[in-house]
Symmetry: C2
Subunit: 213 residues, 2 copies
DNA sequence: ATAATTCTTGAACAGTGTTCATTTCCTGCT
DNA sequence: AGCAGGAAATGAACACTGTTCAAGAATTAT
């Protein structure tokens, strides 16, 4: 009759995601989870080692969904036979923007969480997803006949996607009205357009610059 | 004999900045500040309304210094008669990278803080500094003879700098060894190079794309 | 010198995350 | 059915937050 251990964990994660989305990381409280799930505080700690693990689990679910969203957007374009590099990158960026807008509270929490545990050991699910996204972008770039070897194409993919990420996240800091959303998309369009044009004209690796001190 | 009110505030801010840089936002505790400053907890709240105000004050100092650093880097290049757009943007980016590397703990705290208060009212010091940086970038872009009116140049400046920001911050999430620092700089070089080349070849505003649903 | 004002203090309060002895529940056996 | 044994749930208790505020100390004005 009662819920399975895994079902209860699921319920806790759904509640936790809602709390994060409403009030950010500070709103994820053990007692609130317990109350809303109809269990005691201690039981929460029976299911998860601590609140960090709850937060991490929520993040993983979000990241999986983002990965699925991005891949679906790419697959759609493949199905429609779209090969234009600019179009395809813009489609991925649009999926990313939509995803961030759909999770206004929890996505900043993902970033903050991953920044906090930055000094900790090896790669985790976040890095894995990022690598997967980079690979997809690199695959799209391969379709364009730029003069790039694999290493440089990988670097270009990371650069392009980190830039999209920067535009989307730093844009969402400011007043969150609809004009801001337009501004973000204009910036993404400009970035992708200029980036592709720049790669076409081979300006990418012309100079070997001295690194700053 | 004893410290002035303003001197004590200064002392508190120095201590607070050190705490933030060591352990991030979670490490900024009223009792720790009081102990290290040689005053009582209550006195901290006499100088500042709450810990948020302490954090905000620390951020303002950091942002002022970043502004000064960026402006100094630009002034240096002006003095040397450098007019090349790519060089000048790279110099600014280098200053930014150096600044972030010099404040590994407190810079993420600035970002997190400003993201948290994103739903609050009007523009603050952070937005003001960002606008100032954008203006500087736009000024540099004006020197290159791209075919851009003021609005489009402003958009290009915001796009370029948000991209640099994205590369620097998302780069600093990963393992913070020196290879990562190299990777970041390679990405910045690629971005700036491609961006400038792209603007030169007028690919910036060629397409008026449909926004995603 | 005395009154008035201001500043400083740290105990106290309301919340946190987390633990763990106790109780409750279920399962398998006789 | 009755009963041991173990597993799971409980919530009071602990240590630690930010913040307040009545009381005392110190400074200034008269």
């Amino acid at each position: 009759m009662a819920l399975d251990k895994e079902e209860m964990s699921e319920k806790v994660l759904v509640i936790a995601e809602a709390l994060l989305n409403e009030g950010g990381a500070d709103n994820l409280k053990a007692r609130t989870i317990a109350e809303q799930a109809g269990i005691s505080v201690g039981s929460v700690y029976n299911l998860f080692a601590d609140l960090d693990e709850v937060h991490r689990a929520v993040n993983m679910r979000l990241l999986d969904r983002l990965g699925a969203t991005g891949l679906a957007a790419m697959a759609d374009l493949e199905g429609q036979g779209v090969t234009d590099v600019r179009h395809r990158i813009l489609a991925m960026a649009a999926a990313y923007v939509r995803f961030v807008e759909a999770h206004p509270g929890s996505w900043p929490a993902v970033l903050a969480f991953n920044r906090r545990r930055a000094t900790r050991p090896g790669p985790d699910a976040y890095d894995a997803l990022l690598d997967a996204l980079f690979d997809i972008v690199a695959g799209v770039l391969k379709a364009g006949d730029f003069d790039l070897d694999d290493d440089r194409r990988a670097l270009a993919a990371r650069t392009l996607w980190s830039s999209v990420h920067g535009i989307v996240t730093s844009g969402y800091v400011a007043n969150s009205n609809s004009r801001q959303a337009e501004e973000i998309w204009h910036q993404v369009e400009l970035l992708v357009g200029v980036f592709v044009k720049g790669l076409e004209h081979g300006g990418a690796f012309a100079h070997a610059e001295t690194k700053p001190a």
